[in-house]
Symmetry: C2
Subunit: 333 residues, 2 copies
Amino acid sequence: MKKLAIGIDIGGINTAFGLVDEQGDLFAESVISTRKYPYVEDYPTYVNDLAQAIRALIKSLSFEFTLVGIGIGAPNANIYSGMIEQPANLWKFREEETDRNEQRRLFPLAEDLSKAFGGVKALITNDANAATIGEMVYGNAKGMKDFIMITLGTGLGSGFVANGKMIYGHDGFAGEFGHVIAERDGRVCGCGRKGCLETYVSATGIKRTAFELMSTMPDRSRLREIPFSEFDSAMISAAAEEGDPIARECFRLTGERLGRALADAVTVTSPEAIFLFGGLAKAGKWIFEPTAHYLEENLMFAYKNKVKLLPSGIQGKNAAILGASALIWQEEA
Amino acid sequence: MKKLAIGIDIGGINTAFGLVDEQGDLFAESVISTRKYPYVEDYPTYVNDLAQAIRALIKSLSFEFTLVGIGIGAPNANIYSGMIEQPANLWKFREEETDRNEQRRLFPLAEDLSKAFGGVKALITNDANAATIGEMVYGNAKGMKDFIMITLGTGLGSGFVANGKMIYGHDGFAGEFGHVIAERDGRVCGCGRKGCLETYVSATGIKRTAFELMSTMPDRSRLREIPFSEFDSAMISAAAEEGDPIARECFRLTGERLGRALADAVTVTSPEAIFLFGGLAKAGKWIFEPTAHYLEENLMFAYKNKVKLLPSGIQGKNAAILGASALIWQEEA
């Protein structure tokens, strides 16, 4: 009988899920709102509604299959505990309760979903790690034992693979490369510190850079017509295509910061390749060229001309659902 | 019958070797000169002489044993190829030949020693990796699956262990943490770049810091009596003990740079512990206290109060020979 895994991608707004086979073919997919369940006490209902929606999706299939497991990608998820731990944007305390002990916001989603599906194996990890495993199982990192995945979304996520295995670290929280310090005493980061790489290199980071450059460069730019609140990183790509000097400098600087940081990362794991994934990676040559240039320029001689900078092979193909389901296929292999 | 492994530590001046059992007990040790064999064409003689000296050491033992393998720690050694590749201070071309293609300075020492001992298993890696495996097999990292080893000698070496395995990278050259950039456009490094961590944090680095501080601080200091050429890092520890303000600032700055760099490294592998090993680690609290302070201060919240900074457990116990032999015991386990 055909074997399928459920892949679930939990975002702050929606939860997308689908049924995926070992080759990465997606047989059915659907979505429920995450935002409809904003508070701690909504979590049990969320789990119930999600399980029900998955059951409905399963029934919609016209063939029989064996369910081998449930893989989940979610912010602040820990593969060891199976929990989502203190997520910034999920299942919060109501305002009047915000000084409650944060330690108690632990959501054992892997266990809860496993129970809902007769004890099937369920694994959860953060979204960047899920994308990394997706790249390894279905994407351009197939067969690679040592690589780095950089996911460029609102923030910068990362996954490091060494010896063919995901590095989770002793506590499950390895791979937070968005929080290496790119500029000492630099931009304020959501993590409470300053100068983290993701404040420069991410959809949000490049937008901040655009506004910094509008303040420091005298050049004319169509970007000056757009208010901060309506600005997104795709507008910078579009402007760069048209030769806008601020947009081009914006990508050069972003690539410089990313390239430098990656040159440091290479000294740790000496990867065969580094993959760029996510919204900002769609800017194509505008982000790849300066990143590759500054990566190479900053590499120690032992690594020069050895590290490939590549686009993700799962980009666009429901990558988050695939990545989550790959957690299960990786275990099955 | 008792099983023993040969551990060999190749330095620029001497080659030390010994017979070690699985518990890390050293049954016999000896040494030959490395410096006596300075040129490419001396390498075959070096291998012969080393093999002969090892045979003599084996004969000196009063009991029979099974030789399970030969582990070698050496600069620029690559575990995958079994070679010492373009070493800066070993088996050079004679002066008149220096523009010969550097690619040809490859010394297949693992294979050569294996042949000399009837085809027994032989493994080679760089000295910092060997110390790391020594820490894992015999030292304070026993049972840890995720840790970082920092070796503070003339330079700064490192070894990263994740999922219980040494990270060698795709090419065998992972773990060059001495060459992350600590200060953009900072001190000139032997690797040809600027601002590498080891130009600040190593026996040589702290000495450079002492001389920088003598130029910038007005304070009286006994360090001002010692010329650069006679200066060593132990003098800074001794002065710090006596309250010397330049020596104390020297350690604070060194700990700050190391602590900051390690906080970045933690985002990659999230280790249970970081070990400090080597000459500068002997400075004890003078190096451990500021490093621990700045590590903790710079960690992202998810890692705070979780990462132990610990002394090596093999320090002083012929660590380099033990580490090299551990390459074999790790494989046997």
